[in-house]
Symmetry: C2
Subunit: 335 residues, 2 copies
């Protein structure tokens, strides 16, 4: 398949998912809750996680129709995490629109997240399959892990001694687990062998890690227009990313003092906001000088390679080809 | 069975549920999240919903062991709603202890609720049964209804034209549905007939209504020491209860002006807080003069009677006896 064919096929899947997501929407009373759910699920996005469910199902010999509801379910669960995470991060916008708690209010956003989680289980339960237990176990374990990952992330914000190792534990729960869950769900729906399920799990794990590291990198080096949001947000919010934690381990003298001074500023510090551009440029150059950016790029390449390697366990075919294409594309994405 | 025997049996069930709830607790990292879950699930309470699952299961010929995990699951889901509702209501305390968002913070409480919901599904999935789909469908529909009920409740706080009819729609979603879900889950676990399941649903529906109406009543007429919290909270918070909405429909002249003036005060009004006792006494006497309290008592009796009537469809035995005892006790409870 050519690059254009793969892109066309992905877009086709995205449209099927959008249609399936619309089944979860309700009209009428309670008006605000239903509107907020529509606002969230209409918000677009790549629907990457849903595509992974379907492609993993196909890669082990299953059909698209078996995996569509589970794909929608994973996508809705992902959106539940975004709504609640945005409350916790006091994020004003997402994908170029006001977040739910800004557009409505905190209570509305809290409840929208809760009911989306219900809608996610409801979508999963539409799956035409007799034995639902393995699907529901994977899904529930995913929900719990993503909450635990977010709890670690919040904990890290209050600590100054977070290690790179702890960072990886956190992103494995907060980001990678949901991606692994997507590929495992797909493999289970397609009735893959134990060996194929392990391969899909390994694939999801490395893809998820590469995805998060690439996210951290893009925040610092992306083209702002292409990224669709302002650069350096993680730096200004002093997020404990792989880049910052590695730089803290590696720097001495002036560079280290620059970083620790930045970390000690109170949240929303005026001078920091006023000197935003300069701070970002300075921190970026520290990252570059100490090889942190090159290191992160190397890790993205390594995890992408391991993800691709795992795919070799799966039978050749459109599903596997598309998974490979997606992994290569995500490892070199610009937004 | 004597009253003492029933009380003893219920206490026995409560202990089994407490034990089952402890399986959902984790130690270690993320520390705060695990501690908050323990805080919530260790908080006591009557474990009424869990007991209903087990007793409904027994009433159709099932065994206690089949229903324990589902009982724990319903109890955990109930606690999830309490944690999030307390955030939305800015409630400072519950069962005599600071609420989660006061003891920790908003983000911690939000995440505690989320992970409790995961733990609720996890507990349900421990149920030793092949066909999990009907259980999970009931459970998920319950989650969605309870969120929709809470959304209506929030909506009503901003409206001055809520009708008694709308109030019943709201409490049927917010309170009664979870109780109906408990009895339906129990009946399904015990493999009750379609007719028995309908009877259990009717029982739960009327019991849930009676329970909420009795709650509204107790806020106004209970003995403060017995209730374990201060009287009149609903009046001071201007909650749209059955009592207030009925009084608004029924009063004219001075009494009506007193009520509408109260409703127009801004939240946390100083004069209202200072004159708390007098306001409560005045509103209580309006409720009494216009027969609102007597009406609510009549409704509690009527719904309790209908709940008991539904039980006649079930075979006689300990399960049915205990359900009857519970319904009679709740209809005349003082706390």
């Amino acid at each position: 398949m050519t690059d254009a064919e793969c892109a066309y096929r992905l877009e086709e899947l995205r449209r099927m998912i959008e249609q399936r997501l619309r089944r979860s929407l309700r009209r009428g009373s309670p008006h605000q809750l239903n509107e907020a759910c529509r606002y969230v699920l209409d918000g677009g996005g790549k629907r990457l996680r849903a595509a992974l469910v379907i492609l993993a199902c196909r890669a082990v010999g299953g059909r698209t129709a078996q995996a569509l509801d589970a794909g929608a379910a994973v996508e809705i669960m992902h959106n539940f995490t975004l709504v609640h995470d945005d409350i916790m991060d006091s994020a004003p916008s997402r994908r170029g629109r006001p977040t739910v708690h800004i557009h409505w209010d905190l209570n509305g956003a809290l409840l929208t997240g809760d009911v989306l989680l219900g809608a996610a289980y409801e979508a999963l339960l539409r799956t035409p399959r007799r034995d639902m237990r393995p699907l529901l176990e994977l899904f529930t374990a995913g929900l719990i892990e993503v909450c635990r990952g977010q709890a670690l992330d919040l904990e890290f914000e209050r600590r100054s001694d977070v290690t790179v190792r702890e960072y990886f534990v956190m992103i494995e729960k907060k980001t990678a687990h949901l991606i692994t869950m997507a590929t495992e769900l797909g493999g289970t729906l397609g009735r893959g062998t134990a060996r194929q399920l392990r391969a899909l799990k390994t694939f999801g794990h490395h893809l998820g890690r590469a995805f998060q590291l690439q996210d951290d990198l893009l925040d610092v080096v992306a083209d702002q227009a292409e990224l669709g949001k302002s650069i350096g947000g993680d730096i200004i919010e002093r997020k404990r990313t792989y880049l910052l934690l590695t730089a803290l381990q590696r720097t001495r003298g002036q560079d280290r003092r620059t970083l620790t001074r930045l970390l000690r500023l109170p949240p929303g510090d005026r001078a920091l906001r006023a000197g935003r551009r300069e701070t970002i440029a300075e921190v970026r150059s520290i990252f570059r000088r100490h090889g942190v950016l090159a290191d992160a790029e190397r890790l993205v390449r390594r995890d992408t390679a391991r993800a691709l390697e795992a795919l070799e366990e799966l039978p050749p075919g459109e599903g596997r080809t598309m998974l490979r294409w997606l992994a290569e594309r995500l490892g070199s994405r610009a937004s």
